[in-house]
Symmetry: C2
Subunit: 166 residues, 2 copies
DNA sequence: CAGCAACTATATCCTCGACAATATTCCCCG
DNA sequence: CGGGGAATATTGTCGAGGATATAGTTGCTG
């Protein structure tokens, strides 16, 4: 650690990125908490709600979130107990089961999303004028495409659900 | 969730940012793991090593990481057991104790940092040509300054340690 | 200088989530 | 058609870490 490695521009770059992530995450979590949702619960709810039929197989849900399959089992347990989602047996494969959003879950999402969007606007996208925002997002997109090859859905892909193929 | 809220550009913007964070975090964690360090352990080590005397009070260490004070107690326990850091009593305040990096900890850091820097270069900074990188970092910096006011150390500040004053 | 509020580290309890093991079901291939 | 390997969800077990309570210390203030 002799020469000041910590002033290396690469270190400061990731530091920047991670600070932004931490700051936004904290603010989002606070707002979600007002609606009785944790971060992962919100993510599960949105992933299901944006899927056809408001449902997803447990495995696919795990693939779309940052959770393991057992983690998905656990969070779905909690949310089923809270009435936000339900399990439905898969008719074609008796090993699988679907997690499907209940009307309660959908309305909870409806309550939550507007404030969430407002928060994004307030602390992220609204902080930059359009060209600067576009430039920033372009940079992030290129890094994302490198680091997360599965998510290259941008153009030419099919619906957008092939992300679950990763 | 009637109109496709999920195509809202604000949603995709945070999605992008969070995917980048997740992707980089995973790669970093894998490399750190090769050196027997977890993410938080690496952060603790770097925070201490960049501080005067290679030491920090437990409270300040907690403030500089994303850990609670009890979390810091825990991780310092582990790392002390592994010989990476040591506790030293504070001479002026008998409530406080310092966590100080051992020579073992420093050399572990020396082993780890080069690969870490290489990874940053490979997956983040090296993915963009200099102007695009600068633009991206500028955008991130502005968002960071908004979302994390403490970290406005950039210019005019004193050393850089006033970050701990937050 | 006595007492009280704030601060510091730690201990205790609890939730969350990963990993490995398990049971069930599916599918392919001989 | 039958058996073995892959896929799927769940459960047991464990470590990580937050919230709160606790004990010791400091410093201010009447």
């Amino acid at each position: 650690m002799n020469p000041n490695v910590f002033d290396d521009p690469r270190i400061t770059a990731v530091g920047l990125l991670f600070e932004v992530h931490a700051g936004l995450s904290a603010r989002f979590a606070a707002q979600l908490d007002e609606h009785g949702l944790s971060t992962v619960e919100f993510e599960v709810l949105t992933r299901l709600a944006r899927s056809p039929g408001n449902q997803l197989r447990m495995t696919d849900l795990a693939a779309q979130t940052s959770l393991s399959t057992s983690g998905v089992t656990r969070v779905v347990d909690r949310m089923e107990r809270d009435g936000l989602i339900t399990r439905r047996a898969c008719p074609t494969d008796r090993r699988s089961s679907f997690a499907v959003v209940t009307p309660t879950g959908l309305s909870r999402l409806d309550e939550t999303v507007p404030g969430h969007l407002q928060l994004i606007e307030e602390w992220f996208t609204g902080q930059l004028d359009p060209p600067a925002l576009a430039a920033t997002l372009d940079g992030l997109r290129r890094v994302r495409d490198a680091v997360n090859p599965c998510a290259t859905a941008g153009s030419g892909g099919r619906t957008e659900d092939q992300a679950e193929a990763c």
